[in-house]
């Protein structure tokens, strides 16, 4: 297809779509004036029934906890699939040097980068833990905290290079973290089955509203999600970063 035919089709599509989009934008409901009752209902009942200030967490870990369980295992399955696909081609050796693009010099890491990341990585990890711990009272929670912790691990790679990163973040540890987190969440659900209540019933004392330790079972589920997400994303980042190593698969087989 030549360029003129392509731009003709593009202009035709624009002529059809742009008026439709404009009409749609003009008919959007005003911000905050949504028609559905669910959000208001949760906002009213979550602090009263679950003693939790962050309604989003109440939905994720209590009212719709079974959905989060599904997402948890979706993440586990996705990470496992990636790891299996990449490692089956590459092998599990971790001693290959950094790869190099042909004709591009491999410069040593500058002190400024090292210094900044050494300062920022622990602070970022701590911030991630803070966001995860306060999931019941302020915006955030297990998923957000977990990905922030995982991005702190990427900073360690950025500042210290491959070898020290591999030493400080052994893949086995994070594999275990991810699996343990997902298992913890599933076991939280099974606990209520033992006493004859429906799956994922919130058994534990709910605590006081706006306290860090409010929400009962939600806290443990939150911890499980934090572990699973932090471990899962670190493993995922690690597997992708391994792909920039020099190829050593011929030595493996």
């Amino acid at each position: 297809m030549n360029a003129e035919a392509r731009s003709l089709i593009f202009l035709l599509a624009c002529a059809g779509l742009v008026p439709a989009v404009v009409v749609l934008i003009l008919h959007l409901p005003k911000f905050g004036a949504h028609a559905l009752p669910y959000g208001d209902l949760i906002n009213n009942s979550a602090p009263r029934e679950r003693h939790v200030a962050n309604a989003v967490s109440a939905v994720n870990f209590d009212y719709r906890a079974i959905d989060t369980l599904g997402e948890e295992f979706l993440l586990l399955g996705a990470v496992t699939g990636t790891v299996v696909l990449l490692r089956s081609k590459r092998g599990e050796r971790a001693d290959a040097p950094a790869g190099q693009v042909e004709g591009r010099p491999l410069r040593p890491r500058s002190d400024a980068v090292s210094g900044v990341t050494r300062l920022l990585a622990p602070v970022t990890a701590l911030f991630g833990v803070n966001v995860a711990l306060h999931g019941m009272t302020t915006p955030g929670g297990g998923f957000q905290g977990g990905v922030i912790i995982a991005s702190a691990m990427v900073m360690v790679f950025l500042g210290e290079g491959y070898r020290s990163w591999r030493k400080s973040a052994p893949s086995v540890a994070f594999d275990a973290t991810e699996g343990a987190g997902a298992a913890l969440y599933a076991l939280c659900g099974c606990a209520s089955l033992l006493v004859g209540l429906p799956f994922l019933t919130n058994l534990l004392p709910l605590g006081t509203l706006r306290d860090v330790f409010s929400g009962g079972l939600m806290l443990i589920e939150n911890a499980g999600v934090t572990l699973a997400v932090a471990g899962g994303f670190t493993v995922l980042f690690g597997e992708f970063l391994e792909e920039t190593r020099v190829d050593c698969r011929s030595d493996d087989s």
């Binding site: 911000f31 790869g99 966001v131 915006p139 957000q144 970063l241 792909e243 920039t244």
Partner: protein
């Protein structure tokens, strides 16, 4: 608010119009950050936190790694295709 919407549109256009893949990755990260600020202003701080990390760290990292990995050209070369 209107300014942010315009910025988001401009950043989105920049992602599409940038031709070199490495620069496109950074344009995409900038777009992600602008979207995160927009989420925050629209009172969705949970989504904003996730968007900052996913849009500005995870996605660019994966694209950069893929670009680096594909540039390294690790397929075993036969003598007749040697450049």
């Amino acid at each position: 608010m209107a300014l942010l919407l315009l910025l988001a549109a401009a950043a989105g256009a920049a992602v599409v119009l940038t031709r070199s893949p490495p620069r496109q990755v950074f344009a995409m990260a900038a777009n992600g950050l602008i979207l995160a600020v927009l989420f925050e202003i629209l009172q969705a701080p949970d989504v904003a936190l996730a968007e900052i990390v996913i849009g500005a760290v995870a996605l660019p990292l994966m694209f950069l790694v893929i670009l680096a990995s594909s540039r390294m050209d690790r397929a075993p070369r036969r003598p007749d295709t040697e450049r």
